[in-house]
């Protein structure tokens, strides 16, 4: 201590018990904030920024991102929890709760004189055992639509109210099932999420096709195209500043005029090639249409040429949409318009434009075998849309996790009850003082069930006793908590299913963070001025 202050007079030092108290208090403060929004009966948080900006959320991950966290410990925990969300898409709130509870339980024993190192050894043993229990609890039921619906609903019903959750559940599961290809890893980027500030959130829906957030830029272009051939290119169709790039200079106005003319013709040639292809595939058939989607710009003169031929042309498409277009319509994205052949074209039964204020949307629908889809979120205002978007992200991740894991686990606190039971049995085998660590770990796990009960207006002890008795009778069958009645239930029969990887990640992340924080015996605030 003296050494550090000798080096830096501004440094502040907190030692042993003080250091631990600082860490534990920070962890529990964070826990206090987040615990009320766990589970389907939790509360919403409305965040009002200094500027009066509103954000309503129930998602722990969003909350942690929005809050201004000053305490270094709290921000360490917040980062671990948001990392949990990045990896698995869920479990942020549980991470914060569990870390807080592990530290609280540890503190009780440390106050009685046990060294933190012994506790962390117990934590490690308990963690290994918990993984064992988790593996035994895996439900190897077929991952079909019904299972996925249950998983998605379990996740979504903690984010939005029931009616909306059912709507979003179908949207999420169907979108993933549509884009899923056999023997290939799932790419969630192929589900586009498009926002439209319009109507109400109940109009949120799945479009089995693409929605682009721009439209044709020429008044004479068709607004609806049926039986459309789709050409996707990344070729500039606008007049460029070649004169500067090429570095040659002109002496007279005529020379400049010539140069401009040559450049113009060069661009027009590109457009003509597209028009030729259109004539080749559509001929004089009025029933067939042609849509050009360009990643680069198209200037008004080129648009004019295309409009005369009845081609619908979109410019500056999103880079990722070029890939999606290929998967959705079967088109091949080209970087040049030389040697165009009909087999690079995609096909869509219907392409139409929808105008909302200054925003245009182009829907590409009625596809043969779409492997890319769009979830169209509607809502009257920004914060409703954001809320639904966060929920959909979580729903999609839950579905993806279930497919990737190939299994699910029973939800509604069933894992925590089972792990607690197993750890209490295991405690008898553990030798030495590490047993206190194991017991602390087992107690800490129950925080999830307790919080679920409290948030539903139930008595936590009462509930716990009921659940443990029931599990003792029925084990190894999982026992969960029915939040409406407060009675034990069978989560599998009630369709409450959680992701395996979320639980696994939760246990390992929490143990690591709690262990690290427990072993801290000195905090040095060197150099930085503490905000008072």
């Amino acid at each position: 201590m003296a050494a550090l202050t000798g080096l830096n007079s501004k440094a502040e030092v907190a030692r042993s018990h003080t250091a631990m108290a600082v860490n534990i208090n920070a962890a529990r403060a964070l826990q206090d904030i987040l615990k009320t929004n766990l589970g389907p009966k939790g509360t919403m948080k409305m965040l009002v920024s200094g500027a009066g900006d509103i954000k309503i959320t129930k998602d722990g991950n969003v909350l942690l991102h929005e809050m201004q966290i000053q305490s270094p410990t709290a921000s360490l925990i917040a980062r671990a929890s948001t990392a949990q969300n990045d990896i698995t898409g869920d479990g942020t709130t549980s991470t914060v709760l569990l870390i807080g509870e592990l530290l609280k339980q540890a503190q009780l024993i440390i106050q009685e004189g046990l060294h933190p190192r012994v506790i962390t050894e117990g934590f490690d043993l308990a963690q290994a055992k918990a993984f064992e229990v988790l593996d035994q609890m895996k439900l190897d039921i077929p991952i079909n639509r019904d299972t996925l619906i249950q998983v998605a609903r379990t996740s979504l019903s903690t984010k939005v109210y029931n009616e909306l959750a059912s709507l979003l559940t179908d949207v999420c599961v169907d979108s993933v099932l549509t884009i899923k290809k056999d023997n290939e890893p799932l790419n969630l980027h192929m589900v586009e999420i498009m926002e439209m500030q319009h109507k109400t959130h109940k109009d949120t829906k799945l479009i089995k096709g693409l929605v682009l957030d721009h439209g044709a830029r020429h008044p004479d272009m068709p607004k609806v195209v049926k039986n459309a051939y789709i050409l996707a290119v990344n070729v500039s169709m606008e007049y460029e500043k070649t004169e500067v790039n090429a570095g040659f200079f002109y002496k007279t106005a005529e020379e400049r005029e010539k140069l401009v003319q040559a450049e113009r013709e060069f661009i027009e040639n590109r457009v003509r090639k597209v028009i030729e292809l259109k004539k080749q595939v559509c001929g004089n058939d009025k029933e067939k249409g042609f849509v050009l989607i360009n990643q680069q710009g198209i200037d008004p003169m080129s648009l004019d040429l295309l409009a005369k031929e009845g081609i619908m042309a979109l410019r500056r498409a999103k880079r990722r949409n070029m890939e999606r277009l290929g998967l959705a319509t079967g088109s091949v994205a080209l970087n040049s318009v030389d040697n165009l052949t009909p087999d690079v074209l995609g096909y869509a039964g219907l392409v139409y434009e929808h105008v909302l204020g200054e925003n245009k949307y182009t829907f590409v629908e009625e596809l043969k075998n779409p492997k890319s889809v769009t979830i169209l979120i509607k809502g009257p205002n920004k914060h409703t849309i954001t809320q639904i978007k966060d929920a959909i992200h979580d729903g999609l991740r839950a579905v993806k996790n279930a497919i990737d894991d190939g299994c699910v686990v029973a939800g509604a606190g069933a894992f925590e009850i089972a792990a607690h039971y197993a750890l209490m049995e295991y405690e008898k085998e553990v030798k030495g003082r590490a047993v206190f660590g194991v017991r602390a770990f087992a107690e800490a796990l129950l925080i999830v069930v307790k919080t679920l009960a409290v948030n539903s207006g139930l008595d936590p002890q009462d509930t716990l006793v009921k659940l443990r008795e029931q599990y003792h009778r029925l084990r190894p069958q999982p026992v969960g908590l029915n939040l409406n009645t407060g009675e034990p239930c069978d989560p599998v029969a009630d369709g409450i299913l959680d992701n395996y990887c979320v639980h696994r990640q939760l246990i390992s992340a929490c143990t690591v963070i709690a262990t690290n924080l427990l072993l801290v015996d000195e905090i040095m605030f060197a150099g930085v001025q503490q905000k008072k």
Binding site: T36, K41, T43, M44, K45, M46, L47, V48, S49, G50, A51, G52, D53, I56, K58, H65, E66, Q68, Q70, P72, V160, Y161, N162, L164, Q197, T200, H201, H214, R217, S236, E238, Y239, E240, K241, T242, E243, V244, N245, Q295, G297, D299, P300, R315, R316, K318, R319, L356, G357, E358, G379, P380, N381, K382, T384, Q387, I388, A391, V528, Q529, K531
Partner: protein, 474 residues
Amino acid sequence: MVKGEVITLQLGSFSNFVASHLWNLQSQCFYYSKDAPFGHEFDHDVYYREGRSFLNKTTFTPRTVLIDLKGSVRNCSWPVDQAYDGPNDDEQKVWDGQVQIHKAEPQAASSKSEELGEVDVRPKKAPLQKNSWAGYLQNKYHPKSVTINNDFDSDNPQQPFGVFNQGETLWRLESENFEDRVRWFAEDCDHLSAFNIMMDTSNGFSGFASSCLDYLDDQFRAKSRVVWSLSDVPANDSAANYRALNTVLAYQKMQELADVVLPLSVSADGLRRHLRSSSLVALDPSPFTGGAALAMHVDSILSSLKLKSEGGCDFVNFLRLMTIPDRKFVVSSMAASPLSKDGRLEDLSPKCDSSKMATSAYAVSRGTETSHAIIVRISNTSAASTFHTMVRHPTKFCQDYFPEISSQSMRSVKGSQLVDGLFVVKNSADVVAHFDDLRRRRVNLGKMHRISLPEGDVTEAIQNVASLRENYLK
């Protein structure tokens, strides 16, 4: 001929301070009646776009995309045009349970103003909030313009956003969103000609801007890129080495991917707190005041590039006049009373002092006609290589913005009024002094533990600055 549209990018907090001043200055040249005091000489559509809100209201907002960090708006109102807000219908809840309300503490008014009883003295006019760029912006932005990142705090003394690689991380987090916004504005343009990039060069945003330049090169290869490389005044001098390294790394990318770079700073070297003494009349080191001074220069140069008349220059021609291959870094100076003493031309580029003869110059005189000979003489160049243009509309000077200016030098100026000025951009070897200053900074990666970059990259960037310097001495 149609003027091409220009998209502005505001990459960083200080850039946003400058830009807010810039848009205020730009919008004071809007006249909605047939006769304007100085004639309708500007084509405002170059930097602004006309839009339509959900309620079918016409809007006119800058064609710009900005990035800043959590908390940068402070307690000012959200800088987005309210015409774009949807109905705030409370019936549309998506949760039927309870709602807890957490309010962030409004930032306390300074205790000094409370002592003086200044709180709510003049309720009719909202006070100018100088601690955030959102506080004095007169016309709000389009909703697509504003990106505020939530992963980094703008004002957290424990984790300052001051290192190049933090900026790169920020780009990874925000790129998809940011790219999409740029693309949205680009899609809206019929003749997109250039990107007008205002960036913070010496703080963490240098990493963000460097990645952003890569993106622009990839997606908008044929569009010109003008970079205003802005250095804020740091809160203290302890991070000068980091600031130098950020600058060096950003310069490497600019040399490669920008068409012209205009370094600007009110501090003497762009790195430390030390303000330039000789030039501008005493400024204070706040980003608000410094930003106001720099914005006068940026505004005048940009205004001269949107003139309707045939004699006016556009972005593409401006580049052709200014750049010589490998000599993309140019020096800026301005003379606008009462900000600069005795009407002398004062340099705004760090470490530059207009002592060397310039190879080419671009001068804008605002308000008054200045003869070519005078411009050539005071900007120290040759007559043949000087392009000079005249903007009839004078620029605006707000006394409120410059509290440090003594009342003596203020005799002619009361409150805010229109002032004349001369604004010059030169391609000259003066900038070598700035490069030399950067090279003198000792970069010891072993000690700068907040930087996590391969040593090779850093060495390469430092060598690049050395070679930049050579280009000017040939």
